[in-house]
Amino acid sequence: MTKVRKRRILLYAVLVIGVVPTLLPFVWLVRSALMDNNQMFIAPPQWIPRPFEWSNFSGALTAQPFARYFLNTMIIEVFTVIGTLLTCSIAAFSFSRLRWRGRNVVFGILLSGLMLPQAVLLVPTFLMWDAVQAINTYYPLIVPAWLGGAGGGIFNVFLLRQFFLTIPYELDEAAYIDGASPLRVFWQVIVPLSKPALMVVGIFTFIRTWNEFLDPLIYLNDSSKFTLALGLASFQGTYNAQWGYLMAAATATILPIVVLFFFAQRYLIEGVTLTGVKG
């Protein structure tokens, strides 16, 4: 009993101690975002901003058009998330619930794309978009999402397929006997039952798109078309010694994702468990 008790105390101690290095960079980020330049460079470092320099936020976010970047990012997000959800789930439906010749072979081939380092495709994909004069537009960032999430998107198909396989097939059969088409079965039977899995894919796609840097960097030239990630990188290039501004801008790009995560957490945990990401 005492041994068990000792072990529990140790467990809590390690959990609590581990929190320190995990959260310290966040504390450092936020304190720097709220500190004026006089206090920022005092040694040893101070932790509580005095006064709270909220002007870092207003200053940073107006020094470059971050509102515009935010809007641009959201436009890309909307099209990317909808496209990914639609085409990935429909492909997953076909790969899990419709029987057609060569289905498993095709799925295996598509899945092998996961092993393909995306960086390898950089040059030819760029040249392809260049050939159709789509450089400096959002097409290169959005269109792949409408084709089964192309590239790494097949992982979503895999995830959704795993989930669809757990739904009893009798439901489909009943609908078919009533004369439903596969598309209708997908839309009225499978989709309503798969909300947790779709939620997970949607949220992860949102986060991934939010973080995306290399593709926007290559395809977008006009600063008026920049995404938040790209805007922050260019901001960093210009204001590279203005740490208050930089931390405020960084905080502003992190915050929406953290807020989203807090709202979506329940679905994520539920969904990750349900889809059972296992080797």
């Binding site: 040893p44 085409t87 598509l110 092993m115 495709l121 030819p124 840097f213 938040l228 740490w243 992190i254």
Partner: protein, 319 residues
């Protein structure tokens, strides 16, 4: 009476016939719709994976620079790469160094924390959220934040070390410390791997632990003989995806170090990027891309080959 039976019987046969024809009609339906619904994903694969691979294979055999006319040079690019391009070897070395540091470190940290979070403790949800938070930081914001943490004069790390009277470092601004610094930074992003470990840990059957306990085995034995073997498939998955990931490190080099100092952080994909989009040497960049593909392929195949020696798959788990 007999009429009623007859009516019922015809009703049953009609329903059965309808069912049968429905089923055979349905298989036709499934065949037609199946391919159609999978088509977007198939087109996506062909247009955004297969075709680019083929195009870059052809391009890699040319000396095409944007603005010039390409000419066929055979395998010259590949020969040049290995014999006359010190940056190719350098970037490959830097990337390998980073992979060898970052992958084991991140896997160990993620596994350890997943083990902690798999225990039944009060406030578990809070801990899980806290430990997952760093993963949510977008990589550009992460790079900017760590640049400030690594700042030699006023950064978090050196300030703390100075207070403790410990030796300081120039971190990403030092040729020798830059890769270890980025490895340290990478371990902060353990969250996604941790979640996958956690899902795996929750799938380990309880009765196995009980069996070890009955045999008098303690915590270490349970870990060594149940947790570890049962987790090898998850470990293997994380290992493979992590390595593919670290071989494509780019953002840190672009934002934090521009490949420096003295090319000490010229990661492979950063070198590929500058070759293609700064120097516009699309032919050579394609050759670099193919070399990367082959390298990653070889590593992946080697890992898969080794897997039957150390990865434990439950009987009947394979469908």
């Amino acid at each position: 009476m007999t009429d009623e039976v007859a009516i019922r019987r015809t009703a049953v046969t009609r329903a059965a016939r309808k069912l049968r024809s429905g089923v055979s009609g349905q298989s036709r339906l499934e065949r037609r719709w199946g391919l159609l619904l999978a088509l977007p994903a198939i087109i996506g694969f062909v247009v955004f994976s297969l075709a680019p691979m083929a195009v870059s294979a052809v391009l890699s055999l040319t000396d095409w620079t944007i603005g010039s006319t390409p000419s066929f040079v055979g395998v010259d690019n590949y020969v040049h790469m290995f014999s006359q391009d010190p940056l190719f070897l350098k970037s490959l070395g830097v990337t390998t160094y980073y992979t060898l540091g970052a992958v084991p470190l991140t896997l160990v940290v993620a596994f350890a924390i997943a083990m902690l979070l798999n225990a039944k403790v009060r406030g578990l949800g809070v801990y899980r959220t806290i430990y997952y938070l760093p993963t949510l930081v977008p990589s550009v914001a992460n790079a900017v934040l760590w640049l400030w943490i690594f700042n030699p004069d006023f950064g978090l790390l050196n300030s703390t070390l100075r207070q403790l009277g410990a030796p300081t470092s120039n971190w990403v601004f030092s040729e020798t410390a830059v890769v270890p610094s980025l490895i340290l930074m990478s371990s902060w992003g353990f969250g996604n791997i941790m979640v996958i470990f956690l899902a795996g840990l929750q799938g380990v059957p309880r009765h196995l632990y009980e069996a070890v306990a009955i045999d008098g085995g303690g915590a270490w034995r349970q870990f060594r003989h149940v947790t570890l073997p049962m987790m090898t498939p998850v470990l293997f998955y994380n290992l493979v995806t992590s390595i593919i990931g670290t071989f494509q490190v780019f953002n840190q080099a672009y934002i934090m170090t521009q490949g420096g100092p003295n090319n000490a952080s010229t990661f492979y994909v950063y070198y590929l990027y500058t070759t293609a989009f700064t120097k516009s040497e699309m032919g050579y960049a394609s050759a670099l891309a193919w070399a990367l593909f082959v390298i990653v392929m070889v590593i992946t195949v080697a890992l898969f080959r080794s897997s039957n020696r150390w990865v434990y798959y439950e009987m009947g788990a394979a469908r």
